[in-house]
Every structure is written in C-alpha cells, then in structure tokens.
C-alpha cells in the first residue's frame, strides 16, 4: 500500500509563490465555469476541490488548508445562485482534513493521491448534501453509483493535475 505513516520531521512542507496561490484557484474556478458550456460532461469534475486538496496536502498546515478551502468554496458559491456557504463549509472540512492527513501521511505518490482524492470527494459530497438538506432545505438526489464514479473520475484527473502543480512547489 503506497500510503505510509511518516513522522512530522520526515514530511516536507512546501510553499507557493503568490501568483500561483492566487492564479491556480482562479484558473480552476474559471475552467469550472467555462468548460461545461462546451462540454457538459465536464461538470462532473470539481477542479476547485482538487486544487483545495492539492494546496492543503502540500502545505500540511491545517489552518492554511481550511482557510484555502473556505475561500475557494465561498467564491464557488458566489458563482451559483444558491446560498453562499454550501461549498464553503464542505471545502473547509476537506481543506482541514487534507492538510491534517498530509502532515501524517506520505502523499507524494500517485496511489496515495488517488485514494485520498476519492475519499475527500465523497467527504465533500457528504458534507455538501448534509448542509444543503439540513440548513437550506434543498432537495438533492444522491446516487451512490454516480457519486463513486464521479469520485473515481475526479481522483484520476486529480492525480494528473497534482503532478502538473508539483512543478510550482517550493521547499521551505
């Protein structure tokens, strides 16, 4: 199994330049809003979520991770017509979880990244649906088959995306 437990001293913490920190989430949000117009199936992917997971795992700082997730989620909420905070809460939880796990696990290899992304996609969906149903009274349909398939698709895209984004990492 590629996931290995490592001590705090063993894991490397990365940081990113400001243009990358701002530009990559914005680009993800832009692509998420634009590409489905031409390719409707693209709405299955959640690029802002993948970016949240990547930054959280790379920085390995829970506070930084949850704040990154909250900010990206709130902007994503603002682009919809729903109440602002649904994606915000879900991505805050994911950001916190990913950075917490990133501090304890070796998340540099593809297998670990795939499994973590799949897991966090399902967590994200669960939190989103819970909040949407519980607080906003939205009627949402949950399909396990569709959810898992979408999670697998996101995990596959995520692994490829993370390797691209790895180029922007800077060691502290």
């Amino acid at each position: 199994m590629p996931i290995t437990y490592t001590s705090g001293e063993q894991v490397e913490v990365y940081r990113f330049r400001v243009p990358v920190t701002v530009g990559v989430p914005l680009l993800a949000l832009f692509l998420q809003a634009f590409v489905p117009l031409r390719f409707p199936f693209f709405s299955v992917f959640d690029l802002p979520l993948l970016v949240t997971i990547f930054f959280a795992m790379a920085r390995r700082n829970p506070v930084s991770g949850l704040l990154t997730g909250a900010l990206i989620g709130l902007i994503q909420d603002a682009l919809t017509h729903r109440a602002i905070g649904l994606y915000g809460i879900a991505k805050t939880v994911v950001g916190f979880g990913a950075s917490s796990l990133g501090a304890k696990l070796d998340v540099e290899n593809a297998g670990a990244r795939f499994l973590l992304t799949l897991g966090f996609y399902l967590v994200h969906s669960a939190v989103y649906f819970t909040v949407a149903r519980g607080m906003v009274s939205l009627t949402l349909d949950w399909s396990w088959s569709r959810g898992v398939l979408a999670g697998l698709a996101n995990a596959a895209v995520g692994v490829a995306l993370y390797f691209v984004l790895d180029r922007f990492k800077q060691r502290t």
């Binding site: 809003a33 949850l66 909250a70 682009l79 017509h81 602002i84 809460i89 916190f96 349909d141």
Partner: protein, 416 residues
C-alpha cells in the same frame, strides 16, 4: 488554559470558520431575499471570473467568424440556393399564417381581448456557467448597462431558456428552466391542460400539477401559458417525453424534453419589454398577407383608362370598377427590396365590392384575386387549383390562403 488552546488551536479555528459560515448560511436562509446581503461577494466573484470568460468567448467567436466567413466558404453557393428556396417556402407559409393571425385578431377584437407580445429583445452571448450540477444557471454578457433587469425572460429561437436571476454591471445570471428552483406556467398545446414546469435535482424537466385523470400524450408540445407574468404566452417550452404516475397519486409525472438545448447554449435573447394592448382588427404597421403576395408578383402595367360607365364588372381593359383598376396598379417593389406601397387612399379609393370585409387600409392583391375568382377575366387567371398565373410569373399559393383563387376555373386566356 493556554495549553488547551494551543493544543486544539487548529480544531478551534476549524470550528470557528465553520460556525461563521453556518451563521452566514442561516442568515441567508432566514431572509426571503438574499440578493442584497450577499451581493458584494457575488459581484467580486463574478467580476474576477467573467472577464476571462468574456475575452475567451470573444476570441473564440472572432477566430470562428474569421474562418467561417472568409476562408471556409465551401458549399456556400449551394447553401445559398437552398436557403432561397427555403425562404420561398417560408413566405408561402407566412401567407397562410398571416391569414390565420388576421382572423385571430378580428376575433380577439370582437371579444375585447387584450393581447401581449414581445416588443423588444436584446441578443446576448452565454459566457459561463455556475460550474455546478446543483445550480443550473448561466452567465450572459449583458447586464444593467444593456437594460437587463431581474426577472426578464430569456429565450432562443427554439424555445424558453430561463429568466434573469441576478444582474451585474455587464453580466447577468440566468436561471435555467431545468433548475429545481425554477417554475414556468405551462399549457399543453392540444389538450390545453395547464401546469407548472419545474426542474428536478438531476436536471430533468417535469410538468407538475396535472391531474392523474387527464390524458397527456407523449410528443405533445408544451407552451408557456403566460400565467407567471414573466414569459409571454405561446412560447415553446418542449415536448412531452414520458408520462407516468397515472395509477398512483393525485398528479401525473410528466417528463418534458426542453425545446431549447439547455446543455449547449451559445446565443440567447432577453425579452426587454412586453407590450399589452387592446386587440384590433387593423393590421397597421405589420406585414400583411397581401404585402407578401404583392412582393411575389411582378409589376402589372397600368391599364389604359377606358371608362365603361361604372358598371363595376372588372372586365379587363375597362376602368369601370375603380377599385379593381386601381388595385392592379399596385407596384410591388419587391424587386428592389422595398415594401410595396399599398396605402388605401392612393391605391384603392373605393373598396372592391367583393372585398368588403377587408379593413380600411389593407389593400392589395386580395382584391385582384377575389376579382379573379368571381370573374376569370379580371386580369389574373388561375391555371389550376392552388396555383395562380400572372404575366411572366407563376406563383403557388396554398389553397387555404387564397380560397377564391383556387376555385377559379382554369383559363387559357392570359390577356396580359
């Protein structure tokens, strides 16, 4: 105390951030309209994302136009020919529809109906979406500066798209009809059953509030009913795809396939203004059947003015029937693209006897056709049912449109 705070610092911050967002959500849910309270963050987000989308769409459109309009013109000539033929067919269809519309107008006027129609639209390009399956909405490149307001209807040539939900300075958010929070007053075209068209969580469109004892046939067209005061009446919404639930429950589950392709929207029309007025039989200012007919006929040379004592028989070569004689002097300027001048005073001072139901100001070749129907020698003869022959030109008319002409006996004598 400090140890506890330090130890659980991350968790406390997580709970704090979540609490703040949950609080914000609760405030939004409690308010009936959160448009104002959350406007700032929406404006910032839209302001950050849509310029990129707008520029990309512009570049895509520009390069596409450059290619299609200058370089890739293969088959344009053949297509042009096909389109011209199609235009001819559509003109004939328009003739028939205009007749029906005229009749409807007269009936509406008789019943003192008020009619409402789209009087002003603005074309807009779809530049982005919400990017979420939970929010089926799109952004268009027109906003407050273009006269867009909240609640305006958005349509395409195929059918209804949705309504404007939020307006920003140069963009607007359009809620699609397949979103679960949308609702459109709908009516089935044939059975005239009314209901409410709603989106479902998975993006389908359902017609609700149709009683289970009613009969709804798959394939039937669904139109806007106008009852929601947003969409004008009669716009196509879609077709019935599937009917279920007749056995259980009070209402039918009618699945509808939207007329507009909501998954691939590019250009849309925003209805800026609807006009309501009392229906009148007068067709002033509108393209009339007779104008279209006149455009399709060649110019008829002026007849020699020979007085025959005002018998009104309409015999060619006589000016006895002023109306008929003048009518034939209508010069269809379709050859030059101009609208034929068919104003009543200059063209037909006296209404033709056979055309007394025609409203004032609507003069045209109908009179001629009626004359032809009653008198085969009136200058225009019918070669066969459904066809009308004029000098140098053969025009085909649907039987319903020019009933009298279709019954005109065939004449070998084409004196003009």
């Amino acid at each position: 105390m400090e140890t506890v705070l330090g130890r659980y610092r991350n968790l406390i911050i997580l709970v704090g951030v979540l609490f703040l967002q949950a609080l914000g959500l609760a405030v939004q849910v409690k308010r009936t309209s959160d448009a104002e309270s959350t406007r700032l963050i929406r404006v910032w987000a839209v302001g950050a994302i849509t310029p990129l989308e707008r520029s990309l769409v512009w570049g895509q459109t520009y390069s596409g136009n450059l290619w299609h309009n200058y370089f890739y013109l293969r088959g344009a000539r053949a297509e042009n020919r096909q389109l011209k033929e199609q235009i001819d067919q559509l003109r004939l269809e328009q003739v028939r529809l205009n007749q029906d519309a005229e009749q409807a107008h007269r009936l509406q006027a008789l019943l003192s109906f008020k009619e409402r129609y789209i009087s002003k639209t603005v074309a807009a390009q779809v530049i982005g979406s919400s990017g979420s399956d939970q929010s089926r909405s799109v952004y268009i490149d027109k906003g407050v500066s273009d006269g867009i307001e909240q609640g305006m209807a958005v349509i395409t040539a195929d059918g209804v798209v949705g309504k404007v939900l939020s307006v920003f300075p140069s963009t607007s958010l359009v809620l699609l009809i397949n979103d679960q929070s949308s609702g459109v007053g709908a009516i089935l075209e044939k059975s005239r059953l009314q209901g409410v068209l709603r989106g479902t969580p998975n993006g389908e469109v359902m017609l609700e509030r149709v009683m289970s004892d009613e009969q709804v046939a798959p394939g039937e067209t669904l139109l806007t009913s106008g009852g929601d005061q947003i969409f004008p009446k009669g716009l196509p919404l879609g077709r019935v795809a599937k009917v279920a639930g007749a056995d259980s429950g009070l209402f039918l589950n009618v699945k509808v396939k939207p007329a507009a392709n909501l998954g691939r929207l590019e250009e849309v029309l925003v209805v800026l203004a609807k006009q309501e007025h009392q229906a009148t039989a007068e067709g002033t200012g509108r393209v009339r059947t007779v104008d279209i007919m006149a455009q399709r006929l060649p110019s008829v040379p002026d007849k020699p003015a020979v007085s025959a004592g005002g018998t009104g028989t309409g015999v060619p070569g006589t000016a006895a029937n002023d109306g008929a004689a003048k009518t034939t002097t209508v010069k269809p300027q379709s050859q030059t693209g101009a609208k034929p001048q068919t104003s009543a005073p200059s063209v037909r001072p006296k209404p033709a006897e056979s055309d007394t139901t025609k409203p004032q100001g609507s003069v045209s070749m109908t009179g001629v056709l009626n004359k032809a129907a009653t008198n085969p020698a009136a200058g225009v003869t019918s070669a066969a049912p459904g066809t009308m022959t004029a000098p140098g030109k053969r025009a085909i008319f649907p039987p319903k449109t020019v009933g009298p002409a279709t019954t005109t006996p065939a004449s070998e004598d084409d004196s003009h």
